[in-house]
Amino acid sequence: MMLAVDSIQILLLIAVAPLLRGIVSRVKARIQNRRGASVFRPYADLWKLFRKEALVPPTASFLFRACPVVLFAATVAAAAFVPVLRSSSLLGNTGDFVLLVYLLALARFFLVLGAMDGGSSFGGMGASREALVSTLAEAPLLLGLIAIAIVSHSASIASMTQWTIARMPFELSPVHAFAFVAFAMVIIAETGRVPVDNPTTHLELTMIHEAMVLEYSGPSLALIEWAGAIKLTLMFSMLIALFVPWGIAANLSFFGILIAVVAFLLKMAVLIVLLAALESGVAKLRMYLVPEYLGVACALSVLAVVFTAFAR
């Protein structure tokens, strides 16, 4: 029974991911006074891409076709870590947060490899920029997770969630507050959103992620887009699970699961609106300011770790 629920959890994440992206775009359009495309447009895009032919540059090696697959697989594996409906997940109790972070890093590494393998100058440029951003974003991500791990005396995301649920709501500790802000800043960098990277641009000056996937087409591009959407969903779910997990089902009753689903959707909705408002309100940072932005996130996460020494 537990296995079934956990499997449903991960399938839910994978299936709902494109819808999430669609909703973000729609809300953003509404905020900007446009009508916006339908929220199911990403599904239509994926359907279209899967039926098209994949074109491969003549200079590319086997890596070019393998990388999107590895990327997708690693992202799905990472999604298995995150508790959504229950305070455990498919891999939640076996793997720890370091494995999670490095699964995401593996995914990113292969994306960068594939981009460079494509042979175009845009690919190389996007790859180098992405390498910079991801290197700098890894430290705050890890440190924030370490801080929460220290405080909750455990290394797996699932037990961290259980620990947070056991505490009172509104019990705001400095560790959690700093880690939350650092995490939020890192999520924006990791998922390639404004103000770090614009997911809808194709200007040479401003592309990071888009530059890397410029050479891909057909099913490969579909896998990459889907992996990106899953990454956004999984990072938001991790944010919710680590910091505001109340509502998650404690036991396996039908009622509990129902409440968990509703709570999850509500929190996601809030995060989506906040993201859309942020993307509409803030201008994208120039490239040389991104390290500064991530440096501030790093300072916050360092403080989070140091504050664990004062935790009561």
Binding site: A177, E292, Y293
Partner: protein, 220 residues
């Protein structure tokens, strides 16, 4: 009124955390308007604290102080600062001696320093060390702003943040001084901001810039 008292106690307990975040962000921010907004937010958090204290101690004086802080520090002073910033028509960026990331780390260092300094006093007087540390960190950040920023308006904001910290120290240790004194202090602060505005414009008229590191004619 159990719920309100619960909420008040929770507000008091958690506001120190928010204040730490504002301290870091004020140190790291790169835009003048963001700095003014963060100062206003900081004063807003302090107002919430005063209201919580008023509820917990059933003190009407504290309510009056909260309203004055709201009007003067959250609304009036940031409004004056924004008007000055707009009329000066300067670049929206803060020219600092350090980059935002470095400033964020210095801010983090100041917070830790504040904690270290405050421990003996918190133990000796049985006070909440988190709130004392937040107040000290705000004072130190105000000093950092005054020292490392070159534009005259940023020095003004730095001193306002410093006064914020001192006021918070007063509030967290003594739960407020007599109402008349508080009113006089805030009135002085408001007049000071207005005078500084006059002087910033005069500096601009006579020197054609507002970079205080270049005001070095009088020496020795």
């Amino acid at each position: 009124m159990g719920l309100i008292e619960f909420a008040a106690a929770k507000t008091l307990a958690s506001s120190a955390v928010f204040l730490f975040i504002t301290v870091l962000l004020i140190a790291a921010t790169k835009r003048t308007v963001a700095c003014i907004a963060l100062f206003s937010a900081q004063c807003g958090i302090i107002t919430a604290q005063i209201v919580a204290v008023a509820f917990l101690r059933h003190s009407g004086e504290a309510f009056a102080v909260a309203i004055i802080v709201l009007l003067v520090k959250v609304v009036a002073i940031p409004y004056v600062l924004l008007r000055i910033a707009n009329r000066l028509k300067l670049s929206p960026n803060v020219t600092a001696a350090t980059t935002p990331a470095q400033s964020a780390f210095i801010g983090a260092g100041l917070i830790l320093l504040a904690f270290a300094v405050v421990q003996p006093y918190a133990r000796a007087f049985a006070l909440d060390s988190e709130m004392l540390a937040a107040a000290t960190a705000i004072v130190l950040t105000g000093g950092l702003l005054m020292v490392s920023r070159r534009m005259a308006l940023m020095q003004v904001i730095g001193l306002l943040v410093l006064e914020n910290g001192i006021f918070l120290l007063a509030m967290s240790t003594t739960f407020g001084m007599p109402l008349v004194i508080e009113m006089g202090v805030f009135f002085d602060l408001l007049i000071w901001v207005l005078l500084m505005g006059v002087f910033i414009f005069r500096i601009r008229e006579t020197f054609a810039h507002v970079d205080v590191s270049r005001l070095r004619r009088l020496r020795g």
